[in-house]
Symmetry: C2
Subunit: 282 residues, 2 copies
């Protein structure tokens, strides 16, 4: 099998590692806008070869793991260049804009919109981890528009690397992901900002912050180049989620201001139910 990966960041290079582990008789071609990412992945045998445009047509599958703004510019031309039997899979965190863009594309059958629910706050091939996708979910959108044979090849690959598959519309994906992923990135970033603005003396944060703060602010280390276009592309759903969140924070603030201890207690007790829900997260 010949696999291409455009974008050798955390996702692209972790995927290369895992596919290389699971499959024999495979060649992994890789490409990155950064020369140092490319040479790092070659030197560390994360990929086998540099991907050139002339290779596109002979690939079985081409993954695109780059920021979601850039993917909108490159996918159409890529679909023109790949072979008749090549599947192009986008792995970004928003699905509606890319599905809309390609809706009437003559090569739509060669495209699959996917989102692996996997990642960390770290970036780049230096953070590559072949176990990143183990037991994680990958969401596939609008699969009825992908050619069946190509779709099945991708599904087999995801199952073979240890993922489970869920399908939904791009619309559903973007709405839900605004709440369960994009919102928590914003709340973490803003917690980090609030504490850093206030505590100019970093020693105070060293001394007084515990593991609770560390865990809650962890996503505030995430890459701005990755997240800026995500927040932009999923704007409408994220604004809805932020409005709900702001309403909840203001309401809780009011409970504190008015010494409404019993309501504060009840609210937190209900939220404790998240324990059981989280047990289901792989």
């Amino acid at each position: 099998m010949k696999v291409g990966i455009i974008g050798l960041g955390l996702i692209g290079s972790s995927l290369a590692l895992k596919i290389g582990e699971v499959y024999n008789d495979i060649i992994i071609y890789g490409k990155d806008i950064s020369d140092s990412n490319l040479s790092y992945t070659i030197e560390n045998k994360i990929i086998n070869k540099k991907l050139e445009e002339k290779d596109y047509s002979k690939l079985d599958i081409l993954f695109v793991a780059i920021p979601v703004d850039q993917v909108l510019n490159v996918l159409s031309p890529i679909l023109d260049k790949v072979g008749e039997n090549t599947l192009v899979v986008d792995l970004g965190s928003t699905k509606k804009p890319i599905c809309d863009l390609l809706n009437n594309n003559e090569n739509r059958r060669k495209f699959l919109a996917a989102h692996p629910i996997a990642g960390t706050e770290f970036s780049g091939p230096i953070s590559a981890d072949s176990s990143l996708f183990d037991n994680k979910t990958i969401i596939l959108c609008e699969t009825e528009k992908t050619e069946n044979r190509l779709l099945n090849m991708a599904k087999d690959l995801f199952l073979n690397i240890g993922m489970s598959i869920k399908e939904m519309t791009a619309d559903e994906h973007d709405k839900h992901i605004a709440y369960v992923s994009h919102l928590s990135h914003i709340t973490s970033f803003m917690l980090g900002k609030t504490v850093m603005d206030k505590e100019k003396d970093e020693e105070t944060i060293y001394d007084m912050a515990g593991s609770g703060f560390e865990s809650t602010v962890r996503l505030g280390k995430s890459s701005p180049s990755m997240w800026t276009p995500i927040f932009n592309q999923n704007k409408k759903n994220i604004i809805d989620a932020l409005d709900e969140y702001l309403k909840n924070i203001k309401n809780f603030k009011h409970l504190i201001e008015t010494d409404n201890l019993s309501e504060m207690f009840n609210e937190m007790e209900q939220i404790n139910g998240i324990k059981n829900i989280l047990k289901g997260i792989k």
Copy 2:
């Protein structure tokens, strides 16, 4: 040495375990409002004996690790009952109300206001962990009001169980801790609420939430009986922190609404600086 512990929750029982490990020739007396906590800690040899009021006078040190509302009711009577050479140490997460309450107490010299920066989202002696305090900071407030000999005994004990000591006023403690601890509990609880309210179908959270959501919402599992009185006692500082946080969230929402990508990027890039600050957290 004879040590008493009132409140055998996560903090009290972890402290008992650690002191029992570090010291020979020690008797640990324990007391809890819950009979099952008490019998659990005796059966599991976390403490040696049930603490009775008649034992108070012979203790070297008596830790009080109960919710911060209850501590206000019990500390004065406890200070009346302990011996002339017994130190009473409160371990709660707010320090100003207790220090104010005891400011003119005739036994003030026998009291030490302390806050170990250690904990998890779990509660009760079943979660006891003898390593909970390893390499953590304990903050001591208004130490000039504690008798020197008793203060030094407590400092020796904290150092012996592997903690480092910082001193500050109760006012400073409560202001800073509102930002670096209390605020992150509220943002976690409210993130949990927002997602649970929206995603009535728990399957969606199972399928779409990743480790990022899990980490950001972790503190939403914390105990309402512990946190309700903390939010109440540190109301003024927490409202200030929430106002800053709300301002930051609203501003970021505005950047998203107005497609101000460069400002979004800059803001996140600055917040990324939290990486270096967090490296300092033990």
